[in-house]
């Protein structure tokens, strides 16, 4: 299992990204059962460990790029890049979440920087990494801006989340943009 990690200050826990697997299920359930985390996600807060196990088996493990965000190798969140086919293979969509007790410490920003600095080498066909963020999710918008994503516009009533049509801000980072 390869880990690629960055040390914060001397003595602070090591942040790393590694594949998420079934042994992480209890840590997964910490964020999956938290309404604050699911608020801007397409999924509803989980109520059963079985559903969590199914998700890891059927979605996470076969996923083209899905990693756990880890502090001292303990999963505290997740970050993923989706792949597209055919004419759309040039773009991938970034998604991320973090257990709420770790919010506000710059962890997601560090994790996104780590992905941005490796994904274009891992996927040479990728030209564009994009992210869609709810207009009300200021914290997530700030993460992308700090990493250097370019805000391209607001897509009105773009998709349905939690039963409502939402306005989404679209951001992109190109392989040719200055790397974070």
């Amino acid at each position: 299992m390869e880990a690629d990690g960055k040390q914060g200050q001397e003595g602070s826990p090591e942040l790393s990204l590694r594949p998420l697997d079934l042994s992480d299920i209890d840590d997964f359930m910490v964020w999956a059962t938290d309404d604050k985390v699911s608020r801007f996600c397409t999924w509803d807060t989980y109520t059963s460990k079985e559903a969590g196990i199914d998700y890891i088996k059927n979605i996470v493990i076969p996923h083209p790029w899905f990693k756990a965000i880890c502090l001292d190798n303990k999963a505290i969140g997740a970050i993923s890049v989706s792949a597209n086919n055919g004419n759309d293979r040039c773009r991938g969509e970034l998604g991320y979440l973090l257990a709420s007790k770790y919010w506000g410490k710059g962890i997601v920003t560090r994790a996104v920087k780590m992905v941005a600095s490796t994904i274009f080498n891992e996927w040479p066909h990728l030209e564009r990494l994009e992210a869609l963020v709810d207009v009300e999710n200021g914290g997530s918008q700030r993460v992308l801006e700090k990493v250097g994503f370019q805000r391209e516009g607001v897509l009105r009533k773009f998709c349905i989340q939690k039963g409502r049509c939402r306005d989404m801000v679209i951001y992109s980072l190109l392989s040719t943009d200055p790397q974070p």
Partner: protein, 178 residues
């Protein structure tokens, strides 16, 4: 301007000769995903197997003769609130306000045909200023430039994205755009 009546209607097999005049022109197909269709046989197959069964495709007609198309593609799942609109017309009819008229008619019809549709969106290549003007005159809102968004005929394209919401309809009627 008085150039004959512009109407929208479903495609017919009998449109084939008129169809080739515009669908066989690289200028018209340059910014859409269709391959240029030059043979009568290919055109007949395309009309029968793609245009006629399509969930929402109309021939743009002048005096009931086909001079172009407009298509709407609905999304599904958690994206069912939106649909994409695409269009093209014969080069000889460019620059006369015909496409704008056809797109306005299509917008009006689509929101009636799909009362649960919330968002109609359109993409125009960044260098395709004429198509951008069509959308702006038809009342679409420009939302942004999507860099290196997709491959079109082997070229990586920057696309301008526009939208027209179901709630924009009353605004457009008040402003006499529709």
């Amino acid at each position: 301007m008085d150039s004959g009546t512009v109407t929208l209607r479903p495609f017919r097999v009998s449109d084939v000769d008129d169809f080739i005049l515009w669908a066989g022109d690289d200028q018209v197909t340059r910014n859409i995903r269709w391959k240029t269709i030059t043979s009568k046989e290919e055109a007949l197959t395309f009309i029968k197997e793609v245009c006629i069964p399509h969930p929402w495709r109309r021939s743009i007609c002048i005096d009931d003769r086909s001079i172009g198309f407009v298509s709407v593609y609905r999304w599904s799942g958690n994206e069912i609130c939106k649909a994409d609109i695409a269009y093209g017309i014969a080069a000889k009819y460019w620059g006369q306000g015909i496409t704008t008229k056809a797109v306005k008619m299509a917008v009006s019809e689509v929101f009636k045909d799909f009362p649960d549709l919330v968002r109609l969106q359109a993409f125009a290549a960044v260098e395709n200023k004429a198509s951008q003007r069509v959308l702006e005159k038809a009342g679409f809102t420009k939302e942004g430039l999507l860099r290196k968004y997709t491959f079109l005929k082997g070229q990586l394209k920057d696309l301008v994205i526009y939208s027209f919401l179901s709630t924009d309809i009353t605004v457009a009627v008040d402003d006499k755009l529709l």
